[in-house]
Amino acid sequence: MSAPDIFYVEDDTDFAFIMQHAIQEVKNDLSVSVMGNGKDALDALNELSSERVRPRLIMLDLNLPGMSGHELLKKIREIPFLKSVPVVFFSTSDNPKDVRASLEFGANAYLTKPSGYLNLVSCLSSLHDFWFTKHVSVN
């Protein structure tokens, strides 16, 4: 089994659809795996780590059903094999309080979802540049 490049937790299926296509547009050989809630996400991540594979980037929405994005982050950080995987929050909220809380919980970055497909593509492009090319050593 192999891990996806990007592991994305998002409950909005519309947005998830757009995301997947936008990621393809940025680099069409990136693989994306989408989970709709924290529990499923954890199960999947645990399975991956037991197989000794991990994604190159985890992206989380803040507002998830059941377990919140922050709780999920905490639990992810408890998985030793995934310790080095960068976790980026991707949320509609631009509230500074949410930003600070996310970083305190241990997120590597916090991004506000841009509006529209075109903006999303350019945002993901920067993200890809940063995490996938320029800082390969971090991985």
């Binding site: 909005d12 519309d14 757009i18 509006s115 529209g116 999303l120």
Partner: protein
Amino acid sequence: MNNYQVDLTNCDKEPIHIPGKVQSHGFLVAVDAKTFDITYISQNIAEFIDGDAKNWLGKNIKDLEPVLLPNAPTTQLSQLLNLGAGNKNFDSVNPFNVELNGEAYYIVLTPSGSNIILEFEPTDSDLSLDVQKAIGRSVSEILTGKNLTAILKNAAKEIKKIIQYDRVMIYRFNEDEHGEVVAEVKNDDLEPFMGLHYPASDIPKQARQLYKLNLTRIIADVNTDASPIITFEEGQPLDLTHSVLRAVSPIHIQYLKNMGVGSSFSISLMAHGELWGLVACHNYSPRFINYKAREAAKLVGQILSSALEYRQDEEDTEQLNILNAAAGEISTRLKTDITIAEALTKGKTTVKDITMSAGVAVILDGAITTIGQTPDQEQIKEVAIWLQSNMADSIYYTHRFPEIFGPAKAYSENASGILACALSKDLSELIIWFKPEQITSISWAGNPEKPAEPCEDGIMQLSPRKSFETWEQIVKNTSSRWTNEEVTTVVKIREEVIYAVNRRANEIKLLNERLQLAYEELDTFSYTISHDLRTPLSSVKSYSEFLLATNKSLDDQAKSILGKIVGGADKMNMLIKEILNYSRVGRADIAFDKIAMTAMVSEITKEVISALKSENLQLKIGDTPNIYGDRTMIMQVFTNLINNAVKYSSKSNPSIVEISGKVDGQETVYSISDNGVGIDVNYFSRVFELFKRMDNVQDYEGTGVGLAIVKRIIEKHQARIWFESKLGVGTIFYISFKNL
């Protein structure tokens, strides 16, 4: 005999019941009540029998009798004495007819300690009419009076008819025992004493005591000398309280002489066991009326007394009812929805009418409302300030305010009496009732006295005018007293006012709470809606853009349509963002900080210029003094205002926008002006309303929320915003912040 010297300084200590003298129109013999031995005798008995009065002291009445009354049956006097002693009073005996030296005399027996007094006085008087019949008619006349004043007038009239003195007055004793002439009937040629007031000291205490026990007094002739009573009992003067011949105080005699009065007669008027007043009769020449006539007059007095009691009580109750009715009406008004001030001061009945005051001031919510006769506003404020420091309870009253608070002497005319009631704990809300100085409400029309020889002890100057002046001095700076009824009514009304205030305050509190809840609900609602609207909107835009970017089978029209969809979604998004902002202002807590305005204005202008891409813009930034406020919110305010200024003047060439601030006393005022499209004066009232956009700005982008947000933030900062504008010329917005 006593050697007590009396003058004006000690006349209230003069023991008038033991003068040791009798008036000389009759004579007196006093016997021991058990032995009938003669213990006291007046010297002038010598006019009726030969020999010195002294010789009779110690002898028995039985011995005197045959000498005094040779034609009467023997032991008649002793029998009289026995009869009276047996009955324990002499009412059935008095007066007893005898003949003395061929003249008709009455004997009047009265008790005096362990003695019995026999007084001999003439029967003769010029009253020829049948006194009893006259009284019967009089009494019915008197009692027809519809009110107190009428009864008193009628009584004076009838009494004058019966006893025919030159002047008959009725005195009433007021609070503090001052006297007042409340009714008068007199001969035409005499000056009026009606309305005269005199101090309590004019009729000293011991006189009043005596008048309660002996209901009539006569002074037959001021110019005769009184006759001394002689006795072997040294140091034990005879008590003449019940005597009919008692000699009166020389001071009183002088007073009458000063007035030119030759004789006087007075009757006590009692009510509730106390001396209500007197019927005082003066004659300008000596006059004597006999025992029967005096008793008849006394009877009239007694009947008058009971009528007075009844009518006085009636009038007091009526007075109380009027006060209570007024209080009831005020109370009813307080229970309705009109303001407290209105309930107390508007309408036919006002809070003034619950007391017998001349005026009232109501101090509520910082405003002073006056009704009737009161001091002026500044003086009332002065009184209120004094009350705040000196009122220990919620009610304070005095009838001599200028004596207590010196500065009030300047307006003693209006405020000699005050009754204050506090409505709030800090005593800043008051009702003050005012009573005028007694003197100003009373004036006496009497004539000036005739000049008299000045004398050191002042006795020569005794006169009604002097009495009035003395009384005036005593009552200076005083008003009539506040009655228990008035104070009770005020206490009641105070409770009602406080209750009404609380009720209104509670209602307001409830309203505020409800309003607060509604605001919070609305804010939560706005926030939630906006938030929940943005997600699907985002999808619309994203999907549309996705199609545009990736679908190769779209023709030009399809692309154009998709473009419009995206445009629509963008606009909606902007509106939702603004609404979100607006509702956030409502929910946010304000964090006060010093704001470096120079930096902020510079930052904002840079952003606005780049966002709006304005050409031909001349921007002038003047002084930018720092202000205190919430950084985020203030930034929002200036962003919106500067944005508007640049946006709406973008069609002007050149567009001129000026921003400057100025410290002005307690405030800092900023102005943002532009030379743009301006605001139609008809819309001035709607400028800050949510979603309202003017007709003249349809070409300009905008959500109609920006100024509403600005206003909300300004309100949260307790600052002020206003503007000046002219269509087609330009607009200036001003905001003023309080300096900390």
